[in-house]
């Protein structure tokens, strides 16, 4: 088993890589810092597992050389678990890449990184509900300070491939269930 770190440019993949492997790759606050893949080893439940820091990509239809490298890495490592790093303050576009990877049949763990930035921007994400709909583990993280990493690592083994049809189903299904739930939520808010 290998673990691939994927996500948009500048969401903090390299910070993840350094934290998880203890290695030292360049981290910077601008998109395009990592343009080639980096390999390292991390401990996962007593085993040494290879971790690959993949260059940032917006989608799996490559538009530049760095994205080409990303897609190549994904295709070359069919037996991988993908840790898909999302910018929690821009969940929607991050989900696009996550769904593409899920559609290709990879087991995925979603890390909602830059959780602190999302909080600053007053964006609230219901992690459990998102986890239920996607059917994959979802973990909020703040990579720079290291929050959420223990949980993330513990969830890697739980990741399993999910059929996209099931996500569509639960996205629509939960929708109905939530309307009732939302009603409940509102009344609770009134009570509060």
């Amino acid at each position: 088993m290998k673990i691939l770190l994927m996500g948009h440019p500048n969401v903090g993949k390299s910070v993840f890589f350094n934290r998880l492997t203890g290695a030292k790759v360049m981290e910077s606050n601008y998109p395009g810092t990592t343009v080639d893949f980096m390999k390292g080893w991390m401990r996962l439940e007593g085993e040494d597992v290879e971790l690959i820091d993949v260059p940032g990509a917006f989608s799996l239809e490559p538009k530049d050389r760095a994205e080409e490298v990303a897609v190549e890495m994904l295709e070359k490592n069919r037996d991988s678990v993908v840790v898909c790093v999302l910018d929690a303050s821009k969940v929607e576009r991050g989900l696009y890449l996550a769904l593409e990877i899920i559609e290709r049949g990879y087991p995925v763990v979603v890390a909602l990184n830059m959780w602190d930035v999302a909080e600053d921007k007053n964006i609230k994400i219901e992690v459990e509900k998102l986890e239920r709909i996607l059917g994959v583990p979802v973990v909020p993280t703040t990579a720079i300070s290291g929050e959420g990493f223990k949980e993330l690592v513990s969830k890697i083994k739980e990741a399993a491939p999910v059929k996209i049809e099931k996500i569509i189903e639960s996205a629509s299904g939960v929708n109905v269930a939530t309307s009732a739930g939302e009603g409940g939520g509102e009344s609770a808010a009134v009570c509060g």
């Binding site: 440019p9 696009y96 994400i125 219901e126």
Partner: protein, 418 residues
């Protein structure tokens, strides 16, 4: 089963409606600073201040404090005389010349050197260039650069210069490879990967290889000819923009808009700054030490065997006639294939001997910048470009050297300084 693009976005909308809630945004201090640094009215003065501060720190920290204040004395007053007194052989011995001091002729008599620029030995000039001058320049550059990177300032600078760079077919993002190249051209060239079209990548790599001096080179130029630095940067900037403009017209292909995220400002962490400083500085030493020493050895051997004199005789008329520089410049030009810092250092030796006028030094420094990227950069370009592009880069390079070098000579003649 893969979804279509629309289906995927529909699904995402459904999901996010249920799970994400956007609250009212507060306008924070961070936002205010972010706006100030990208709006032209305030952003341009900020950019000038940042770059000026960067330069001032570079000069004071690396040049004044370490190199002039400490290293020059250490090497010229202690290391060189000590080696001259204990190293076996003595002046005139070939091995001594390669390792310590080749000496130079004064009125037909071989005299010993009194500084590490002139000596040309591996243990003197070689070590002095790396540890006396360039190491401090590299440290100073990467320290400030890492802070700017981690704060998230570079993308803002990209936004500011976007309009200007679009005129030459590049995008504001080009500031990232350009800035990186000012440290070392090698990561600069790899940083062209996020550029979308081959045309943009080709243009960027060619411009970097020709017109952007690396930190090692800047450090040693600053030590040697501080009073000329303004003119050197101006000449290179004009070349970069002017030649970029021409390349954009003649290279086929498109330069589409790239959409780049401007990340939020962040507080840099000391740990990450230090870690990057370590990665980059140790990377520099690993390449620089062997290559500079090897360069010293090769050039030394070429002097000893007479090959250098032969080359000087062959290329002298071209160098003097077209570029207006003395035939001795051939030695730094040879060294420059390997390392630019070594090449400029050798120029320093020629200056100390009083062979060159100030204008000739200026011309030579520019020639050293543009005539060839260093070996490491060239090796990377072979990897990154296809053969057609590589030939294109080489052709641009040769044309540029002759046109631009000749032009500088011409301007010098017209001004009466050449």
């Amino acid at each position: 089963m893969p979804l279509s693009v629309d289906e995927r976005w529909n699904l995402i909308e459904k999901i996010s409606k249920q799970t994400v809630e956007f609250g009212a945004r507060k306008h924070t201090l961070k936002d205010a600073i972010a706006e100030l640094t990208v709006k032209p009215l305030t952003g341009i003065p900020v950019a000038i201040a940042v770059i000026y501060g960067f330069w001032a720190f570079f000069v004071e920290f690396a040049g004044t404090l370490f190199t002039d204040g400490f290293m020059v004395r250490l090497f010229d007053e202690h290391w060189l005389p000590w080696l001259q007194s204990v190293f076996p052989g003595g002046l005139g011995n070939p091995f001594y010349a390669l390792m310590v001091d080749a000496g130079h002729l004064e009125g037909g008599v071989l005299v010993a050197s009194d500084n590490c620029f002139e000596a040309f030995g591996m243990l003197t000039s070689g070590l002095f260039i790396v540890f006396g001058v360039v190491l401090w320049a590299i440290l100073a550059f990467y320290l400030v650069f890492a802070i700017l990177e981690d704060i998230g300032y570079l993308p803002r600078l990209a936004v500011l210069v976007d309009t200007v760079l679009h005129k030459i077919g590049l995008h504001g993002y080009a500031i990232v490879p350009t800035f990186l190249s000012l440290g070392c051209n090698v990561p600069g060239v790899t940083a062209t990967r996020p550029l979308e079209t081959r045309k943009q990548r080709f243009m960027m790599m060619t411009l970097l290889a020709i017109f952007v001096p690396c930190g090692a080179q800047i450090g040693i130029m600053q030590d040697l000819v501080p009073e000329l630095m303004g003119w050197i940067f101006l000449t290179l900037a004009i070349g970069y923009l002017g030649f970029g403009f021409i390349l954009n017209k003649i290279v086929p292909g498109k330069s589409p808009e790239i959409i780049m995220d401007v990340p939020p400002y962040q507080m840099p962490t000391l740990k990450n700054i230090m870690s990057k400083l370590w990665i980059r500085t140790s990377g520099f030493l690993l390449v620089a030490v062997p290559f500079v020493l090897l360069g010293c050895l090769i050039v030394g051997l070429m002097y000893l065997t007479g090959a250098m004199d032969w080359l000087a005789a062959v290329f002298g008329p071209l160098l003097m006639g077209w570029f207006g520089v003395p035939s001795e410049t051939v030695a730094p030009l040879i060294a420059g294939f390997l390392r630019k810092d070594l090449a400029v250092g050798m120029l320093g030796g020629l200056m100390e001997q009083g062979i060159m006028t100030t204008f000739q030094v200026f011309t030579s420094v520019i020639l050293l910048c543009i005539y060839f990227p260093c070996l490491a950069t060239f090796a990377l370009m072979i990897k990154e470009e296809n053969w057609k592009e590589l030939l294109g880069s080489l052709a641009s390079l040769i044309a540029m050297v002759f046109v631009y070098g000749g032009l500088i000579h011409l301007v010098g003649i017209m001004l009466g300084v050449a």
